[in-house]
């Protein structure tokens, strides 16, 4: 799909928990070729002191109904404003942006590890990867049960595991403490992760030590989102790479972790 600046119609804006909202938007044109890990850059209209767009990963795409879902966590003014948008408004977006995760192959056995709003591309990938659900393991970490989002819809696509820092859901601790991660890691052929930097780094380093395939989806401060400003660089082994076009998905082997 060609990159395009396009107004999407907000169909639904559902609060999932204190800070997280699910936005469902309809595109006037087909949304083929949007893959897990890619993102959209959203204009925040009518907000004083917001000048740039805000990037959000694609949580899901309904190719048939031409809808795109986003998981928006309130972090600052822009995300807050976006979660206040009422169904019926048009929201200007630029999409699709960035490189997607490498889709697994038929015999892969994968683990997807999401933290915070980083679960978005993980759920999308679980749904889209086309593997036998038996071979898809999704590990989700959060601070507390109240920060968890409902993943009911994605249950059929894999085996789900949870950790919370306070133990209110699943195992207590970080994702890297969960048995599926600590004990079974070498059973997986591919690791995918998206979430807080510290979490991804911990996972990435373990993957490197164990020489496992591991892709991470980075987030940083972007001005354009499509490769012209060179603001969003990650210092990789091959030098500064743009997270918006060379990423956001990187193989840990390429990073200086």
């Amino acid at each position: 799909m060609k990159k395009t600046v396009i107004d999407l119609l907000l169909l639904k804006n559902k609060q999932l928990n204190k800070d997280n909202f699910l936005l469902k938007l309809r595109s006037p044109v087909p949304v083929s070729d949007i893959f897990p890990g890619q993102f959209v850059n959203v204009e925040i209209k009518d907000a004083q002191e917001i000048f740039l767009r805000r990037p959000f990963s694609v949580l899901d795409v309904d190719y048939q109904n031409q809808t795109i879902s986003l998981l928006v966590k309130i972090l600052g003014r822009g995300s807050k404003k976006l979660t206040e948008a009422q169904p019926g408004v048009q929201i200007s977006t630029i999409l699709p942006l960035g490189k997607s995760f490498t889709l697994p192959e038929r015999n892969d056995r994968i683990i997807l590890i999401g933290g915070g709003s980083g679960v978005a591309p993980m759920l999308f990938l679980a749904k889209l990867c086309g593997l036998d659900p038996e071979n898809v393991h999704v590990l989700i970490g959060a601070r507390s049960i109240t920060d968890h989002i409902d993943i009911e819809e994605y249950k059929p696509f894999g085996n789900f595991y949870f950790t919370t820092e306070d133990g209110s859901l699943g195992e207590k601790g970080y994702v890297t403490n969960h048995p599926v991660f600590t004990n079974k890691l070498n059973e997986f052929t591919k690791i995918y992760t998206c979430g807080p930097d510290l979490m991804m780094k911990a996972i990435g380093r373990i993957a490197l030590e164990n020489k496992l395939f591991c892709e991470v989806s980075l987030e940083n401060m972007m001005a354009c989102g499509f490769g012209v400003c060179l603001c969003c660089v990650e210092d990789t082994k091959a030098g500064h790479k743009c997270v918006c076009t060379d990423g956001p998905v990187f193989n840990v082997n390429d990073l200086k972790w």
């Binding site: 767009r53 401060m221 001005a223 354009c224 490769g227 012209v228 400003c229 603001c231 660089v233 500064h240």
Partner: protein
């Protein structure tokens, strides 16, 4: 149909709307969004003699109606440009102009000589105003003698259209403009970014890795407009105006203040289709005001 064409030195631009250096890559990055051949010109990313990694992350901070950047001229160097990029973009039907940067006069000259070889690069924009590099850059653009020296040296080796990009971080931009005109610049472009800074009050650290960065966007438009007007009144060579242009009205204001062409920069980040919207808006404005040629607009301020 109104005629949007405009001549700068010996170059005919199909319209006065160009893309500003550092905000449009090499054009190809945004070819999905707009038909590049509709543009008056594209000033590609700041190029240096050697590969540069640019500054460390973070390089960007959002500010009220604008942004700070501290990219620091990240680019793969002129050899890579000539070998890999030029062949891909040279046939775009618009003027491709290269933004030329150096730490020393010798750098500028050497780089210019390389670009002189390229048939399809009809002009260079000499950037003596980058605030985000330690050596050279803005240092050349903030005093008349040093600005003169670079332009003089480059002029000797370059016979095509030579545009000099001026820094707004000076007491008198008109003086700098006159200095570069005296050394044979064919046009001046302005403004580059204003030196600014952002602080994170919680961590008490600078937001940018380089502490200071260059401010662009609508916030700087009133300053840019003033400088274009001052320079227009000080020199005879045509002025290329920029700084915070977001729509056709902004572009028209710059032309009224004296800009022969305008460059669109930061606006591209918000919406890369803005440049073509501006071309259309300019044509409509001219029809509405019964103007035949953009030259009627340029410097038409009544005061």
């Amino acid at each position: 149909m109104v005629n949007l064409g405009i001549k700068i030195h010996e170059l005919d631009f199909k319209n006065p709307i160009m893309l500003a250096s550092g905000t449009c890559g090499f054009g190809e990055e945004i070819s999905d969004f707009l038909d590049l051949s509709r543009l008056g010109g594209i000033v590609v990313k700041g190029t240096t003699l050697k590969h540069r990694e640019g500054n460390a992350y973070p390089r960007m901070a959002e500010t009220p109606s604008g942004m700070l950047n501290a990219v620091g001229l990240q680019n793969k160097g002129v050899d890579n440009f000539i070998a890999n990029i030029y062949p891909r973009i040279k046939d775009i039907d618009t003027h491709i102009i290269v933004n030329v940067n150096g730490s020393t006069i010798e750098d500028y000259v050497a780089l210019t000589e390389r670009l002189n070889e390229l048939d399809k690069i009809p002009a260079i924009e000499l950037n003596i105003s980058c605030p985000n590099v330690k050596e050279g850059g803005m240092a050349f653009g903030i005093s008349c003698p040093s600005a003169e020296a670079v332009v003089k040296a480059v002029r000797k080796v370059y016979s095509k259209t030579l545009i000099v990009k001026l820094s707004p971080n000076v007491t008198s931009i008109a003086d700098i403009a006159k200095a570069v005109e005296s050394q044979g610049a064919d046009s001046v472009s302005l403004i580059n970014t204003l030196l600014g800074m952002a602080v994170n009050a919680e961590t008490r650290k600078p937001v940018l890795s380089t502490i200071t960065g260059g401010l662009s966007g609508p916030a700087i438009k009133p300053i840019a407009l003033r400088m274009v007007w001052q320079v227009y009144n000080a020199v005879k060579i045509p002025v290329m105006g920029m700084g915070g242009i977001m729509n056709a009205t902004d572009a028209i204001e710059f032309m009224i203040a004296g800009a022969s062409t305008v460059q669109i920069g930061t606006a591209i980040f918000i919406d890369p289709t803005i440049p073509v919207q501006i071309i259309d808006g300019l044509a409509l404005y001219m029809e509405r005001h019964k103007m035949q040629s953009v030259s009627e607009l340029i410097g038409s301020l009544q005061c």
